[in-house]
Amino acid sequence: MADATEFKRPTGASDRGDFGVIYHQPDPAPDDRAVLRTEELLLNMGPQHPSTHGVLRVVLELEGERVLKATPHLGYLHRGTEKLAEGKTYQQVVTLTDRLDYVCAMTNNFAYVRAVEKLLGVTVPPRAEYVRTIVAEMQRISGHLFWLGTQALDIGAMTVFFYTFREREILIELFEKLCGARLTYSYYSVGGVTNDLTPDIIGALRAFLKTFPEKITEYNTLLETNRIWLARTKNVAVISADDAVAYSLTGPTLRGSGVNYDIRKAEPYAAYADVDFDVPLGKNGDTYDRYFIRIEEIRQSARIISQCLDKLPEGPVSIDVPGITFPAKDRVMLDMESLIHHFKMACEGIKPPKGEVYCATEVPKGELGFYINSDGGNHPYRLKIRSPSYVHLGAFDHMARGYLIADIVTIFGTYDVVMGECDR
């Protein structure tokens, strides 16, 4: 301030100085402060910002470093999945769901095939239910590890990223053994799963579970009482329980505010009714609580997997109903009827009865719902994906107001947003 008033313009120079610079002309005000002009600043963040985990643009209205308003601009990753699905058979849509939340493709497949099965009214064999639960919980662990690593990285703690990705890699290799893919699995199929868990995979999974609790402690030693982590997450992006429900938040984001809503408990599906697990709840509704919930959920997921492995029943991993599932490959190679059946399945696909269903599944990010309207044909008349990331971004403005610019990165991260799922 002192500099501004003491600054002497070069004598004889015009307003527009010799170098094309407009010199600031202080008003002859008695108070030095009066010369400072304040105005709201409009700042564009993204779409190519590393912390947005995809392509998301946010227009921030700032007063100094405080956020007055944050307007998210979505759609950079919109691929028209819902419209595409209207032209595909029911099995083909499974591959589209892989590309929604590409970090947790298994649970997307699961949510979709559950909706189709509800429409068809089929129940899958007990072993398939257990395998589905095991794989979904493996995916939850790997999804939360991904979140923890990237969230810490965004905030500036790089080491955690290497630690969590080390364990995530083990799980992804198991998925690769299970279905041949590392990210886009298409593992769940209508009526069951495509491959059975081999003794090899079960052994590797048990070995993983044995050492995993120590690994969680290891992440926590890096973060739990880390002053920087605390300063960046405590009391940041706080949302009250009432607001969280009013903004339709789900999953760990909702439970961070202390609302007990977990679809695995509220409407048990697969093998969740047979296993014992807790739903962790937060108190303050801030990013730190959500971090704790996700860490605790990883522990619970490990518990669920080991219980399921102990109880794993014998039997097939898929139903065998003509018109819903493909015939076994070895039969297709040998008898004519199976070959015809295979051909009809590939060309015509599944024809569910007329009607509409909405089926919600607890995925790592929240409630993933599939609404399917069937007109009795072999492809959905209308498919609607209720993706948690999209709904969560609706609360972004509400949760970002009043915080600092630097906190925006934390607030993105607190929802565990994946833009593929958000924009669809």
Binding site: K83, S248, L249, A266, Y381, R382, Y390
Partner: protein, 168 residues
């Protein structure tokens, strides 16, 4: 009749046009001008407490007289039950009242319906396109939107190729 449907019918005489139970789900069809009132009542009534709006979506039935169907999925965290509310909208009067006053989270959901299906929501605080660009033509989730052939992106002007640096 399902007790919830009975409740809505008693509280809002004439508002319910159809009640259906299928696949273990209850669907209540309503007249479109009552949707926000019914939503508010269902949210606040202590017997039902539908406090979570799961989703808002729309379906297009081009052959029907009332072409569009707007669907609301409600859930009660406390009572653990779900319901689906429906309202029909005609093509000529493609408007329905917004439920953002009941659930602020409906903001983005309704914007998506507006963007992809072209149904306007009255009293919505910020009704703009959300997934598509502002200058996009048409509403792609309508059944008559072409999925093949030349479209909007073919109207983009090609920038002439530059001549490159004059001195290498």
């Amino acid at each position: 009749m399902h007790p919830l449907a009975q409740f809505v019918q008693d509280r809002f005489p004439g508002a319910v046009t159809d009640v259906k139970e299928a696949f273990g789900e209850l669907t209540i069809s309503l007249r479109k001008d009552r949707i926000a009132d019914v939503c508010r009542t269902l949210r606040d009534d202590p017997a039902w407490r539908f406090n979570l709006l799961s989703d808002v979506l729309s379906v297009d039935f081009p052959d029907d007289e009332e072409r569009f169907e707007v669907i609301y999925h409600l859930y009660s965290i406390e009572k653990r039950h779900r319901v689906r509310l429906k309202a029909r909208v005609t093509e000529d009067d493609c408007r329905i009242e917004s439920v953002t006053s009941v659930w602020p989270g409906a903001n983005f959901m309704e914007r998506e319906v507006y963007d992809l299906m072209g149904i306007a929501f009255t009293n919505h605080p910020d009704l703009r396109r959300i997934l598509l660009t502002d200058d996009f033509d048409g509403h792609p989730l309508r059944k008559d939107y072409p999925t093949e052939g030349k479209g909007w992106r073919n109207t983009f002007e090609f920038l002439p190729k530059g001549e490159g640096p004059s001195v290498l």
